[in-house]
Symmetry: C2
Subunit: 313 residues, 2 copies
């Protein structure tokens, strides 16, 4: 295939790793990453888009890889001063990161769309591949827990995922619309890659944008899901804990089952070959390979393997 147009769906860290790998294999015109924005929230008066920023910083090569979020070589003077003043400091914002939030908040307040602001920020940071928010409307993930319903970042950051989750709600999703840019990417795509992101709170909100799931299915193009569960564990984040709390088996088969009506292909880690036949029995084509991305080479290798599925039906 001369030119492959790939759409990738991504949450934060795990998704961003594969998005980076894809960006090293695909030309700028060949890749569109659509990021979850349902965990965006307003904090200290700033509009903060954690997944969008994680992908943006990762593609720009300025992310803090060790920490998993935020910028490399970050400083924390503002947070220290805010703590001294008695302000909210449970959500850690680095000094340089704050610039992103200040500018985005200002541009949104001026009436720019999140899609437009993201394009501007990416351009300033030298990100050449296309990064799009899943929609321009404000959608808020709420987590139903044993401590009541919690806004996502309170559950995720403040409570460090300790509450027992029983369900999720994407408030405002009914008002969301597929943007022109997202529609264009779907219309043009040769395959969809669902990055190894949390199925419940990262990928589900993207697919819940009215018309999104249907448009991706209607494309008739390969929809390749990369398992975020390896050997019964999530590489990062609460995906495994959520599976258990939702009374689902904590393994790649449960993830494949979750996507059975949506995916055409499933990328299974070499550690999980025991589930291959069961996943194939769900009607999915299975690719077995190493999916653990520790190095940049791992990211690029996995991206290449995933793309090898495109056009092989």
């Amino acid at each position: 295939m001369d030119r492959r147009r790939i759409v990738a769906l991504s949450g934060g860290v795990g998704g961003a790793k594969l998005a980076l790998g894809l960006s090293r294999v695909l030309a700028a015109s060949e890749l569109t990453v659509i990021a979850n924005t349902a965990d965006d929230f307003e904090h200290l008066g700033l509009y903060i888009a954690p997944d969008l920023d994680t992908v943006m910083y990762t593609l720009a090569g300025i992310n803090n890889a060790a920490q998993g979020w935020g910028l490399a070589d970050e400083s924390w003077q503002c947070m220290a001063a805010l703590e001294r003043l008695g302000g909210d400091s449970w959500f850690r914002l680095g000094d340089r990161d704050i610039a992103t939030h200040l500018l985005r908040s200002q541009l949104l307040a001026q009436g720019d769309s999140l899609t437009g602001v993201t394009a501007r920020l990416c351009r300033a940071l030298g990100v050449e591949h296309r990064l799009l928010p899943m929609c321009d409307a404000k959608v808020d993930t709420w987590v139903m827990t044993d401590q009541g319903e919690l806004p996502f970042q309170h559950y995720f950051v403040r409570e460090q995922c300790r509450p027992v989750a029983s369900g999720f709600r994407f408030a405002g999703i009914e008002q969301a619309r597929i943007s022109t840019a997202v529609q264009q990417a779907i219309d043009d795509m040769d395959a969809l890659v669902v990055c190894p992101s949390n199925p419940f709170v990262s990928v589900a909100p993207i697919l819940a944008v009215p018309g999104m799931r249907q448009a991706l299915l209607a494309s008739g193009k390969p929809r390749i899901v990369v398992s975020p569960i390896i050997g019964g564990q999530a590489v990062k984040g609460p995906a495994a804990k959520m599976l258990a709390e939702l009374s689902l088996p904590v393994n790649a088969l449960a993830v494949a089952s979750h996507y059975r009506d949506f995916a055409s292909h499933f990328v299974l880690d070499s550690a999980d070959t025991c589930y291959q036949s069961a996943i194939e029995a769900l009607g999915l084509q299975v690719l077995v390979c190493n999916t653990l991305m520790q190095t940049l080479d791992d990211r690029i290798t996995l991206a290449s393997r995933v793309l090898s599925q495109v056009g092989q039906d």
Copy 2:
């Protein structure tokens, strides 16, 4: 006099110096500083109160004395990142300073008054003397110039006072009210000190709050103006340039004339004794002393000299 209750009116740097001197001579219960807020503005979505913060940081002992504004030991990572992103960086906000603006903006958005927010910030920073904004309403100084009417910070910071000023306007001042806290301070005061701040853009807006000038006059207490002009020059800021552009003589006599219907006392620098009799002829009592405050001792000495006028009528 056992206990002296002093109200001081202050703009930024020059006023803050004398406010600091007063705070070293007076007990916490004896001093209320009322700061100009007509140069407050919204920038990058943040509510910024330059004069209030200069006084607050100075009283807290954390101001950048060399620079004249902002915090000591400040870092500038956020501004550097904002510049990289192509955001507005003409108004320099330090990383730690931004914490003040974030928290204040958040509290104001939650419905707190500027008076309440200022009290909270001062408490957190260990400022024991009372600091009050001139009012809780949003007032905006506009400078009429040869380049058109400019918002104050655009004139002051972005254009570095280069445009020729012909007048000033305090938009929104009609809606301003004397706050309960300011009224209480005026009711209780034994004397008013007008710090060596710009008469046109720092002190004038405070006196323009409806009822303020009248209440201070009606108190019948000494109203002591400390000259911001020494030897025909302003120690800092555009006061001298403004006098010239308004076709007024650039000297302490012109300042005294400006306050002739308001002040009872005028503190004249030792360099300006040539104006003493002319100022006395305006009906003002004149105190001659060194008014240039280079060291902390200078600030304390001047404060003591100014206070020596209280109760000597």
